[in-house]
């Protein structure tokens, strides 16, 4: 899939490119609005990531151009400006998602995946994990076709997030940012990931040991699938 990254902060643009290339996206990077506008006018993309705070261009104008010239593209707005009004404006103008900076690259990938799934209406999105089956569309987990109801929404979120980034170690910070990102509180380390993982293991162990859910000592957790 082709991604156009329009981001004036070169260091960040570079990291986005490295990360997304790693996840098998083909990236093009622009550091200003003018060249971004030019690229939007000429090429077709699957994803367009637009930074709202460009020095030479109103990011929202860029969004309009993208919607006109690249109607199929998924547009995501990245911004460090804390204005609710902009958020509303951005979504009204047809941005598919809005990601406030600073964001986790994993979160960006997860959002991109979610929109792709929504946009292309993927049918039953089933993943087998050992003797368990994860249904990403219905957000359920089952054991030999028996749905396991004990798993809470939060716990499923964690499993799905790790599944999306399968075979990669996710740190506790990354996991908690995903599931508690919108909560504003004043804890240094509001980290109850360990407790959640413990619960997930306990609940699944009733059926079969979830060997695929691994603890990476000192670092975090990962879901391992042999492909």
């Amino acid at each position: 899939m082709n991604v156009l990254i329009i981001e004036d902060e070169k260091a960040l643009a570079a990291e986005l490119e490295i990360f997304l290339t790693n996840y098998n996206y083909i990236c093009e990077v622009c550091f200003d609005g003018a060249s971004g506008s030019e690229k939007i006018g000429v090429n077709l993309y699957d994803f367009i990531l637009i930074d709202l705070g460009l020095p030479d261009y109103d990011g929202l104008d860029l969004l309009k151009e993208a919607k006109k010239n690249n109607p199929e593209a998924i547009c995501m707005i990245l911004t460090a400006r804390a204005e609710v009004f902009d958020r509303i404006k951005g979504l009204d103008l047809g941005a598919d998602d809005y990601l406030p900076k600073p964001f986790s690259l994993l979160e960006l990938y997860s959002r991109m995946q979610a929109i792709t799934r929504r946009k292309f209406g993927l049918k039953q999105n089933l993943v087998d994990l050992g003797e368990f089956t994860i249904n990403l569309t219905d957000r359920t987990i089952s054991y030999h076709h028996d749905e396991i109801n004990a798993i809470t929404k939060k716990e499923f979120d964690l499993i799905a997030y790790m599944l999306l980034h399968k075979n990669r170690t996710l740190t506790r910070s990354q996991l908690s940012e995903h599931i508690w990102g919108s909560v504003i509180n004043d804890d240094y380390d509001s980290n109850y990931i360990d407790a959640h993982i413990k619960n997930i293991r306990k609940k699944l162990n009733v059926f079969a040991p979830p060997d695929w859910l691994e603890t990476v000592r000192g670092l975090g957790y990962k879901i391992k699938i042999n492909t």
Binding site: E9, E15, N22, A82, T171, S173, W180, I184, D186, Y188
Partner: protein
């Protein structure tokens, strides 16, 4: 009381007092006027009589006479007094058995070496008989005049004070800052009101430009602070992806990530507080309180389990929050309940109770935690203020400031009751306008 009402009231009262005073003084005044008038008349009559006597002399002219109704009399007699008399005074006389009070002019004079006494009298009753009707007429006329002037005053003050009412209505009442509305001049010929109008307008402009500046500052500060954090976070995340990293390096990266998270949380929280105080959030959500608390519970239940704290919610199912910001209220409850967990003991209790007293709705969050000492209580809402007993907890002292600014933004009052080592109760008092049943 309104200025117009006050003015009208004062006008009416002052006029009534004046008129009452005048009406009360009227009898005295009329009596004086009548007396002067009568005295003048008596003098004239005396002159006339003396004129006649001068021409025709007194030839058996000595006589006394009174009018049929005895309200006047006239007498000319020889006098035996030595002293000169020329007086007018009130005296009682007996005429045919009736004692009547008269105003009497007495004058004695010598003619042909004889002393004569002339007396002309007018009964007091006949003098005073016009007093009462005059008083009545005066009263009625004055009352009519008062009503007319009060009415005129009322109309005029209505007219002249209308711009003031307009200034209050359009510029002050229901004007929520920041408003950024356009300036509409209030029509008035009164220079004071024009001055007031322009002064208020200038003040609004100042306030709004301050708001605007603050808003720009928040936006810029947020951009300048968040961008570097964003770059660092991405760099660390990408470094994790490298496979040849030693465990030691990974651990150090992890530490960096945690510290960066701390910086991120503090910055986000501070920006959030300024955004709330700058009124940059909308209040357009409606949500059932029970549903909102359930959402908070879903997020926080893991922390309750971790400390084995019992959690009990007694909230009427039909309390709906209206015109609120859901995101902010979620965070308000999250932080209060999170604190109730954080500062609680293992196996402690948390209760959330909704009570209603007429039009006031209260939600109390009651914990069995370590409590707050009376000395610390006034400072718990200060930013970055950490209480001695909370030092061992990993927080940076912005939880309650968030709670306070969200509550203030929604006009929710917070009351705190706490006893050291017994627990704390945080009560949120919702205004009637936020709750629908």
């Amino acid at each position: 009381m309104k200025l117009r009402t006050k003015l009208t009231l004062f006008n009416t009262l002052s006029k009534l007092v004046l008129v009452t005073l005048f009406v009360l003084l009227l009898p005295v005044l009329i009596r004086n006027i009548n007396q002067n008038f009568t005295d003048n008349k008596l003098q004239k009559q005396k002159k006339k009589v003396l004129g006649i006597i001068k021409i025709s002399g007194i030839k058996n002219n000595l006589y006394a006479a009174y009018s049929p109704l005895k309200d006047q009399f006239y007498s000319l007699d020889e006098d035996s007094l030595d002293e000169n008399l020329d007086t007018i005074r009130n005296e009682k006389r007996k005429i045919e058995g009736d004692t009547i009070e008269y105003r009497i002019l007495s004058y004695n004079f010598t003619l042909d070496k004889k002393l004569y006494l002339l007396e002309i009298g007018k009964s007091i009753d006949s003098i005073g008989e016009t007093t009462t009707p005059l008083q009545n007429i005066a009263f009625v006329v004055l009352l009519g005049m008062i009503l007319l002037t009060v009415l005129a005053d009322q109309l005029y003050s209505n007219y002249v004070l209308r711009p003031l009412g307009q200034i209050i209505k359009t510029k002050l009442i229901g004007n929520k800052f920041p408003n950024f509305g356009s300036y509409k001049k209030v029509k008035t010929t009164t220079s004071d009101f024009a001055y007031l109008d322009i002064s208020i307008h200038k003040m609004i402009v100042t306030i709004e430009s301050t708001f605007q500046k603050e808003r720009e500052f928040i936006s810029n500060a947020s951009h300048e602070l968040m961008t570097p954090v964003s770059i660092l976070q991405s760099k660390i995340e990408n470094m994790f992806e490298q496979e040849d990293l030693s465990d030691e390096l990974k651990n150090r990266l992890l530490e960096m990530q945690r510290i960066l998270n701390r910086l991120k949380t503090i910055t986000k929280t501070l920006l959030l507080i300024s955004q709330i105080e700058n009124e940059q959030f909308l209040k357009e959500d409606n949500i059932s309180l029970a549903v909102l608390l359930q959402e908070v519970y879903d997020e926080i239940s893991i922390r309750l389990q971790d400390k084995n704290i019992s959690y009990d919610v007694v909230i009427p199912q039909n309390w709906n929050l209206i015109h609120v910001n859901k995101f902010l209220l979620f965070n308000l409850f999250f932080n209060l309940i999170n604190n109730a967990i954080k500062y609680n003991h293992e196996n402690g209790e948390i209760k959330i109770v909704g009570t209603r007293e007429n039009t006031s709705f209260a939600v109390s969050i009651i914990d069995t935690g370590i409590g707050i000492s009376a000395g610390d209580l006034p400072y718990i809402f200060n930013r970055f203020k950490k209480m001695r007993q909370s030092l061992q907890h990993d927080s940076f002292g912005l939880g309650l400031p968030i709670v306070q600014s969200i509550a203030a933004f929604h006009q929710i009052k917070i009351e705190v009751n706490s006893e050291k080592s017994k627990g704390s109760t945080f009560t949120l008092i919702f205004p009637e306008s936020l709750i629908e049943i």
